[in-house]
Symmetry: C2
Subunit: 255 residues, 2 copies
């Protein structure tokens, strides 16, 4: 008998709500319930399942937390099957990374693997309209070199735009998520004016290479930019420092 332990999940809960969550999620993932479908009202479905309203409500809440349902109040309201959106996933990753607390190096490493390749593809597919968008993004950024909060959004939007041009939903998800997580790290650091100028400059060079439709040049500029950002972030905190659970920066005393 080959490792039975690997086949079955350990049963830990017999909660009614979990059972219902499992059934409804299963129905969605099997395609029996489609986007926009309206589930029965709490009262009706509770009756049908033979459980109390509260148990059913909890199930609906969990499914809503998963991003699988949208629950609307009022007449012709109810629970509707919904496409899971990126925000749900990103929020989950923020929660995950909070405890994982990856180093700047860890974030940078994955970026150096993906984004230089992404921009290569991008150089071959990019349109003039896309280039205008990116150029506009940079000018907006230059106007805002003092407002870090706006910068973060523009920085995200820049990298998001580039990755979206590849039309690969998996890569988009990953790049955007890493970007979001990194922004959260940046927020903790006090980025100075020089850093923000450096970011703008890097973006300009990338767009320059993209305008020339030069994949290799774009790739090199992207790699340089990512490394520069890492260096800048590390410099923003003299010595090795880590983000602690209290959100305060303190020296990394090693593990």
């Amino acid at each position: 008998m080959y490792g039975m332990k690997d086949i079955f999940d350990t049963v830990k809960s017999n909660r009614i709500s979990e059972n219902i969550v499992h059934q409804i999620r299963g129905a969605i993932l099997r395609g029996e319930l489609k986007i926009g479908d309206r589930l029965p009202s709490e009262k009706d479905l509770a009756m049908k399942f033979g459980v109390s309203k509260s148990s059913l409500r909890e199930a609906y809440r969990v499914l809503e937390a998963y991003g699988l349902l949208e629950i609307k109040q009022g007449m012709s309201g109810g629970a509707f099957v919904k496409k899971v959106d990126l925000k749900t996933i990103k929020d989950g990753l923020v929660n995950y990374f909070f405890f994982q607390n990856p180093s700047i190096r860890e974030y940078t490493q994955i970026r150096t693997f993906i984004e230089p390749e992404v921009v290569k593809i991008c150089a071959l597919k990019i349109t003039d309209k896309d280039i205008d968008y990116l150029k506009n993004n940079i000018s907006e950024m230059e106007k805002e070199v003092d407002g870090e909060k706006f910068m973060s959004d523009l920085d995200c939007a820049f990298h998001k735009k580039i990755v979206d041009i590849t039309e690969n939903t998996v890569i988009s998800l990953i790049v955007e998520s890493v970007q979001t997580a990194l922004i959260n790290v940046k927020r903790m650091l006090q980025m100075n004016h020089a850093f923000l100028m450096m970011v703008c400059d890097g973006h300009k060079k990338i767009v320059g290479a993209l305008s020339e439709r030069d994949p290799d040049k774009a790739s090199k500029e992207m790699l340089k930019h990512i490394i520069e950002v890492e260096t800048g972030m590390l410099a923003c905190k003299n010595g090795d420092m880590v983000l602690t659970e209290t959100g305060i920066l303190k020296p990394d005393t090693g593990s």
Copy 2:
């Protein structure tokens, strides 16, 4: 006034439970609540917040769905702050990818960016014990070339082991998640014996290169393996086919 819309999130709900979720999640993410901390009992906290038990219960349920809390019944039970685990994230991604329904190409592309680089690092850090583990994994796999279900787990474990050697939590998360998502696609296809043999063969060559501590060779073998798997999967479904919402394979009529 620079684009106010970008600063504030649109307020959509005034639900009590959501407010509580927001507060508790915030306290965790600010580090005011740490792993293992026990929150007050439902009754007590409901009193403290001045809300009903049911509203508080819903909040606890949602936080549990996020993976931030573990709720235990019985004496000295209650709600405990918990590190978000990988399963929570993976399940979320399964939900997300179900609707996104990426093509095999999209999965393969990201793999070709990451895993050949990962295995390079791996070649420099791998220990003899790690190699034994990988070799053992392959022999297990060879024993099971007929039991596809077991194969999937072993296949995942193989790639997981390699990525874990890099000691980069961000990359591990991504590789494992893509792997899991891909396994779900594979499950829908009827993988034949030849395919499974090919996987084993690819793994053997990768481990061979790793044993020699040859990063470039390992990288090339990994890339070859990934492309072979893609080709094999595409071959498993004559013509271009997609995973539909009903879980059935049908010809991709293009978009």
